[in-house]
């Protein structure tokens, strides 16, 4: 781990839900363009770490630094603004707004950022094309398959050209073939845009798409032994 020059860095994160600690002094760092897998058994605090890193929840103690900002000190509104402009998200399921068409779903982050509808939808269409699902533009999420939906979600995460993409079990609900395809597209697109990817997964084959892995066990994140 080389914190110097890192894009996003967390130190000594503690977070407890009730009496059970989810994070117990976790450290983490990621560099621009790097894909880092966060692994660990279920309930080990992987998702909590991701949420803290993305500024979605505030740790009980510890700091998260993103570039010059200390996320842990920012107001909720500033954090939200940062998430809109600099971060992208892919979740396991249920993330597309069911009423909006796929195109509108992809355009949504841009529109939340203030981009005009026409321009947002034009860029959204580019990303749908790039993820080979442009034929779904007019369909609603309820009418597409799981793998297609995940591709739309990835397009949505990438449409703002974020600097960090947070992916929480992005292939968790997919069969291996679709999962592989989605991972290939995600890492490829991230490499092209020099986005860092924080990839939470419990699947080794998914983690193998990362440049390195971090194992969370009992609320503590460990750099894999012997890794560079």
């Amino acid at each position: 781990m080389n914190p110097a020059g890192s894009l996003l860095e967390a130190r000594a994160l503690h977070k407890a839900y009730g009496p059970t600690p989810a994070l117990d002094g976790a450290d983490f760092a990621i560099h621009p363009g790097e894909v880092v897998a966060v692994m660990g058994p279920s309930g080990s605090g992987k998702s909590t770490l991701l949420h803290c890193l993305a500024g979605i929840i505030r740790p009980d103690s510890g700091t998260v630094r993103y570039g010059p900002h200390a996320l842990t000190d920012l107001s909720d509104a500033r954090c939200s603004a940062l998430r809109r402009s600099d971060f992208g998200f892919v979740f396991q399921f249920g993330q597309l707004v069911p009423e909006l068409t796929c195109l509108e779903n992809v355009a949504l982050p841009l529109r939340l950022n203030g981009t005009k509808r026409k321009e947002a939808e034009r860029r959204a269409r580019d990303w749908l094309t790039r993820l080979e699902v442009d034929d779904l533009a007019a369909k609603r999420p309820g009418d597409v398959s799981g793998g297609q939906g995940q591709r739309v979600a990835i397009a949505r995460a990438l449409v703002t050209t974020p600097r960090v993409i947070f992916a929480d079990e992005p292939t968790g609900a997919l069969d291996s073939l679709n999962g592989e395809r989605v991972m290939g597209l995600l890492t490829e697109a991230a490499r092209d845009t020099r986005a860092a990817v924080v990839l939470v997964t419990h699947e080794a084959r998914v983690a193998a798409y990362a440049d390195r892995e971090v194992v969370v066990r009992d609320g503590i994140a460990r750099e894999a032994v012997g890794a560079a």
């Binding site: 058994p41 080794a204 084959r205 892995e213 894999a224 012997g226």
Partner: protein, 174 residues
């Protein structure tokens, strides 16, 4: 893998020289380990002896490598039988890793670290295979996937063992 059956199978599409056979084998199956000429030569003589192939002709200039082989009816039957016979699944009951873990526990060494190191090593190999898969063709992908799934199975075992180290320590330590 039975090289004899593989070569026989390659001959089914038509007679070939020994050199052609090696090239065809390498192209399809030899990504990691190319065949030596010697292996082709010794295998073909065994097949000749058993009547599964015959020499179709010899090019001028003599030398064993100039022979052209063709498959016999008995050979075709043999290939068919081989393909139809299911392979015996690997039981994986003798595991070096298991031995290492138990020894580490018996000698009061850190078995968890051993497992973590092994896990990192597995993942490093998996990353490499994933990268090769990304750049390779379909054959590459299938071959890498085969390996990846096996490695993943190992990794799962590593995870499971790591989660049960305490119990295992009790069981072996008494």
């Amino acid at each position: 893998m039975s090289i004899g059956h593989t070569l026989l199978g390659l001959l089914e599409s038509g007679p070939r020289h020994g050199y052609d056979l090696k090239r065809a084998f390498d192209e399809h199956f030899g990504q990691d380990r190319p065949l030596h000429y010697g292996q082709v030569y010794s295998t073909m003589s065994r097949l000749l002896k058993n009547g599964l192939v015959e020499v179709d002709g010899v090019e001028a200039g003599a030398g064993p490598e100039r022979k052209r082989y063709a498959i016999t009816d008995a050979g075709i039957t043999d290939v068919a039988q081989w393909l139809a016979r299911p392979e015996k699944p690997e039981p994986y009951l003798q595991s070096t890793l298991y031995t290492k873990v138990v020894l580490a526990l018996l000698t009061d060494r850190d078995a968890a670290e051993l497992l973590d190191t092994q896990r990192a090593e597995h993942l490093r190999l998996m990353r490499g295979l994933t990268e090769r898969k990304r750049t390779g063709d379909l054959a590459d992908q299938l071959i890498c996937d085969h390996a990846l799934f096996h490695l993943e199975a190992d990794l799962r075992w590593l995870e499971l063992t790591a989660a049960r180290l305490d119990k295992l320590a009790e069981a072996v330590g008494g």
